[in-house]
């Protein structure tokens, strides 16, 4: 089966308890989870820690075993290196197709910036973006 144009992200529930994020960060380091990019969303009373890691399946299992609420989701990764205006282009395509971007965050790697986006309809977003000639990364490309 050919690899799909998605990257796995792990998301962790962080409750309001003081020091909770530090605890989760320590667990990640103890489990040797290599974080490539991350983002924290917070609301009154809780937060969601989202990360692109090396070997997400392993990270997911390890965190789950330690009693953390964790979830794997697929995000779309758009490399920005040689296309100025690439972010605008991607957002415009999704907008035209009526696909909502739930959230997005960037990662600045050796090869240039990568923009990760989570959309409400991943499959539709992938075909729309590929149709317009945008490059999307696959698992293992990072």
């Amino acid at each position: 089966m050919p690899k799909r144009h998605v990257i796995k992200q792990i998301s962790v529930f962080v409750n309001n308890e003081p020091g909770r994020l530090a605890k989760i960060a320590r667990m990640l380091s103890e489990e040797d989870v290599d974080i490539r990019a991350f983002n924290i969303a917070e609301a009154s009373g809780f937060g969601v820690f989202r990360a692109i890691v090396r070997d997400p399946d392993r990270a997911f299992e390890r965190l789950k075993d330690r009693g953390v609420i964790v979830k794997e989701t697929e995000v779309i990764a758009i490399p920005m290196q040689d296309r100025p205006g690439g972010l605008f282009e991607a957002a415009a395509v999704l907008g035209e197709e009526g696909i909502n971007i739930e959230y997005g965050y960037a990662y600045s790697g050796k090869e240039g910036a990568i923009f990760f986006i989570r959309v409400d309809d991943t499959e539709a977003a992938i075909s729309a973006l590929l149709d317009r000639g945008l490059e999307l990364m696959k698992e293992g490309d990072l």
């Binding site: 308890e17 009373g45 809780f46 969601v48 609420i69 979830k71 959230y103």
Partner: protein, 432 residues
């Protein structure tokens, strides 16, 4: 000044005779017309003929809040439906509210009881009374409204909320007395300060009738000194009609009119009577109630009685401050909340588990209730919109069933304390 000098100053022995006669006729009436209470008396092995003295009231079975819920809506009524001229409703544990019905006579004696109370604190014709209790299903607003009108005062039915406007009206209309919760009184004081309004200089307010939630002598001093007014305690619950009894100008206990209600203080465990001055559970019999008589009602408030004659000349017994509850009911911004209601509400929300904690804080003068619940892992989402929807749903359901808005904190599964035996799910950090 008395509103009804004969009743208010009746010699104790004469009052006891009157109470005995009223009690006896009430029990006969109930036994004949109220299936619920007849069955309960039969189960208890007591007949109206067994009531041979006032002390024989102890032979009668108790009534509980649960009885009102179990017989919702109108099965407890002793009067035909068309005789009932008003309903008041309070929120219930399992979606079933507590309903109280009133005949014209019931509204009349309730109003009269408050007219005596208002007169005893020097409120009457010429006064402008701002009623800042909620109007509607809650008894506070309409109760005080009728009472204040009866004594000839001018009533401003302000109800709750919009504090700035309330202050403006208070100044514009020369309001002399206010009825509200003690925490709302403090809140008003704080808002006034922020707006540069000096209660003493800028208003004519001199008296406040405060109740519907627990408060203390410390709060009384704070309010009296801060706002330059006299603060009076008021007592009542919807089951007994609504707010009914207050302190007099002496401020040394709440006068319970003997021809209206019979009060007992019992040890909540042994159910044995306790002498004057000793704190126990209040048991109340409203002898005048027609549509929905309450006999030996276990109101669950803890307090004590004084039976010496008050310097004001009134002979009724006086009730001390409510020092707590013999059950786990919480009073939050004047609204009664049982932890079991919170539990029941959460049980119907699939995204959270059944463990919970309630944390009560006081921010400024207003109570804040936080409910912590454990998120079920399968409902966790990386999308904030999904997570906010879970919080919103809990908040909406609490509002719907408990009539109160709460802060919701989602917790990790297993992170809330588990209890063996009696659960302590409430952390009350409020200072009264």
């Amino acid at each position: 000044m008395y509103w009804n000098a004969r009743m208010e100053c009746m010699p104790p022995e004469e009052l006891k005779n009157l109470q005995y006669r009223e009690l006896k006729s009430l029990v006969y009436k109930l036994y004949s017309f109220n299936n619920f209470y007849r069955d309960r008396m039969d189960e208890h092995g007591v007949h109206p003929d067994d009531i041979q003295s006032l002390e024989d009231i102890r032979k009668l079975p108790f009534m509980y809040k649960q009885d009102l819920r179990d017989h919702y809506p109108c099965q407890m009524f002793t009067s035909p439906r068309e005789e009932v001229v008003r309903y008041h409703v309070s929120s219930g544990t399992t979606g079933k509210p507590t309903l109280v019905g009133y005949t014209e006579h019931d509204i009349e004696f309730w109003t009269d009881s408050l007219a005596r109370a208002l007169t005893s604190i020097g409120i009457g014709r010429g006064d402008v009374v701002q009623v800042s209790y909620g109007y509607g299903l809650f008894t506070g607003g309409l109760g005080l409204h009728y009472g204040a009108e009866r004594v000839g005062a001018t009533v401003l039915p302000a109800s709750v909320g919009n504090t700035e406007r309330q202050l403006e009206l208070m100044m514009d209309l020369d309001v002399t007395a206010i009825a509200c919760t003690p925490s709302y009184m403090i809140h008003m004081g704080e808002v006034a300060k922020r707006l540069g309004i000096d209660f003493i200089r800028d208003t004519k307010l001199r008296k406040a009738i405060l109740g519907a939630e627990p408060w203390s002598e410390g709060m009384r001093r704070h309010i009296q000194e801060g706002l330059g007014i006299e603060a009076y305690d008021i007592y009542g619950t919807s089951e007994i009609s609504g707010p009914m009894f207050t302190e007099c100008e002496e401020r040394n206990g709440i006068h319970i009119w003997g021809d209206v209600a019979l009060v007992e203080i019992i040890d909540p465990e042994t159910e044995e009577p306790l002498p004057p001055g000793e704190v126990g559970e209040l048991v109340i019999t409203v002898i005048k109630k027609e549509a929905m008589p309450m006999v030996r009602y276990r109101i669950r408030d803890l307090t004590y009685m004084e039976d010496d004659v008050c310097p004001c000349g009134r002979t009724s017994v006086r009730m001390g401050r409510i020092s707590g509850r013999s059950d786990d009911m919480l009073i939050i911004r004047g609204i009664n909340v049982f932890p079991s209601q919170v539990e029941h509400t959460l049980m119907n929300i699939p995204e959270v588990g059944e463990q919970f904690m309630i944390i009560l804080d006081r921010k400024g003068a207003l109570d804040n209730m936080t409910v912590q619940a454990e998120l079920r892992p399968e409902h966790f989402s990386d999308k904030m919109s999904d997570m906010m929807a879970i919080k919103k749903r809990i908040d909406n359901d609490m509002r719907k069933y408990l009539n109160i808005s709460v802060n919701v904190e989602l917790m990790d599964p297993g992170s809330l304390p588990r209890f063996e035996g009696k659960a302590k799910r409430v952390v009350d950090r409020r200072e009264f």
